[in-house]
Symmetry: C2
Subunit: 299 residues, 2 copies
């Protein structure tokens, strides 16, 4: 039994999804499938139930999981205890959007700090849109930000957190005095405050394009926080990730619209270049993120 295989098993057990797990392990789906098959063959028992829609652990799988956790942990322990040239040393630069800094970065940084005390961490915040570029040109090692829908092959992405995109409106005129169309708010008539760019803008544009609707854009802003402020002032309705709204000081001064279009959720995740992920430090951070993602979804 190889700890690498246990690691892979653990990732799949966390994510419960072959495709995503294989990405997280930097493997092709077929390689993952086969690794699991070998494990199952070794034990003569299935570890996962695949019902072609969801993946779940069998009872045997659960037991094996607790063994795997222990085994991997113990291996890491001796290794770091006995290793002379501790390669988990050096520095790691992380770029994060404001959203990320407040939502999932705290836990992530905390546990990384605890596990790898020697690593010099450097944290930069900024707007999500820059993240990919900075990773790509090697200015930073990892980015935690809203993920683009598509990306180059040289980059790796790991979705960590989904949060719905909410339509919000100013609080006044308590009745929902907004024009409707097909039971939903008519976006061609209601004035909107939209971000200049970013994931929520792309989501909106896509939705509008599919329905050939021309929006009534009253103003374009940069940054989710700014958008909330504008909506509060009455400039129009806007779109914001629930995660951001819930942390905003204005959260009680805007109204969440129920009869709004349903957009795909806002995805925050980890991004790095494949070349960077060769570095053990980056790998360690990545692995930690995978584990935390699993814990969260397991709740």
């Amino acid at each position: 039994m190889d700890t690498r295989h246990l690691q892979i098993f653990l990732t799949l057990a966390e994510l419960r999804h072959f495709g995503r797990a294989s990405q997280a392990c930097h493997l092709s789906p077929s390689a993952l499938t086969r690794t699991i098959q070998r494990l199952e063959e070794e034990l003569g028992q299935p570890l996962f139930l695949r019902d072609n829609r969801r993946v779940s652990l069998t009872p045997v799988g659960e037991q094996f999981r607790s063994y795997a956790r222990r085994a991997v942990q113990e291996w890491r322990a001796v290794r770091s205890a006995l290793r002379k040239t501790d390669d988990l040393t050096g520095s790691l630069s992380i770029y994060a959007s404001v959203t990320a800094v407040y939502s999932l970065l705290p836990r992530l940084l905390e546990s990384f700090r605890q596990a790898y005390r020697e690593v010099q961490l450097e944290l930069r915040t900024g707007v999500a849109e820059q993240a990919v570029g900075l990773v790509q040109n090697g200015e930073i090692d990892l980015a935690v930000a809203a993920l683009p829908d598509r990306h180059r092959a040289s980059l790796q992405f790991l979705p960590l957190l989904h949060t719905p995109l909410l339509f919000i409106a100013p609080p006044f005129g308590a009745g929902s005095g907004l024009p409707l169309r097909d039971g939903l708010i008519d976006l061609s008539r209601v004035p909107m405050v939209v971000p200049q760019q970013g994931l929520s803008r792309r989501r909106l544009d896509q939705w509008l394009k599919e329905r050939r609707i021309l929006p009534n854009i009253s103003s374009e802003v940069s940054g989710n926080e700014a958008l909330i402020a504008m909506v509060r002032l009455g400039c129009g309705i806007g779109i914001v990730p629930e995660l951001v709204l819930s942390r905003s000081p204005f959260r009680d001064e805007v109204r969440i619209l129920e009869k709004a279009p349903h957009l795909d959720p806002y995805v925050v995740g980890l991004c790095s270049s494949k070349s960077n992920l060769q570095r053990p430090v980056a790998q360690a951070f990545w692995q930690l993120a995978v584990e935390q993602a699993g814990e969260r979804s397991g709740l």
Copy 2:
């Protein structure tokens, strides 16, 4: 980290000898060397000190050894706990010489029994000379007996125990009234009781041939026990493994000759065919024997 590599490491740690360890693992010496090298590279530290005469563990190696023991043991535990088709089931037939039955088989059988309760053990005793033949034609799985000096490639041997070959003489005539030559007993003149065949006979023949001595053979017997009896009766001097003599009821009725030729020690060990060692049951027994061999030498 792969448990197989840990297993190999443990074997070398027990035997402290690359050549023998590689045999015990059914590997070529180079493969063993490289496995250890990879381990050492992984930790960035040497695990063994090779001073071209003896092999020993470094302090780091000792620490790693305790980890390896635990890891292998835990892996075996989950595996046997979760495995549905417990392949360590079935039967194992063992052939043993009388010497073996009394010397190292008890401990070996006891721990095997304890570890693999499900396995049906079948034990046959007989003369050592038959052992190899029975293994070769597949009548039995394993033999514990005196080992031949050379053997076919299809067979595997694992030396477990060395015991010196002693020259013994009848007790009467308390003075060592035997003719000498070059300070040793002159075997061309003293009557001898020798086994018809077997390891001690081969050792004797070889010794005589090297020195071009024609022995004075008074009688040939079959079996070490018979030989002791004949010597006691005064038929001549004889050769017997210390191990056998020490358990003989006649041990105080014969005299051990000091001024005797020095023969290579009598070697008792495990023998099996390579094809048989594919079976997990046989492998388990073999591995157990390796471990016990290490413990003994470690004393």
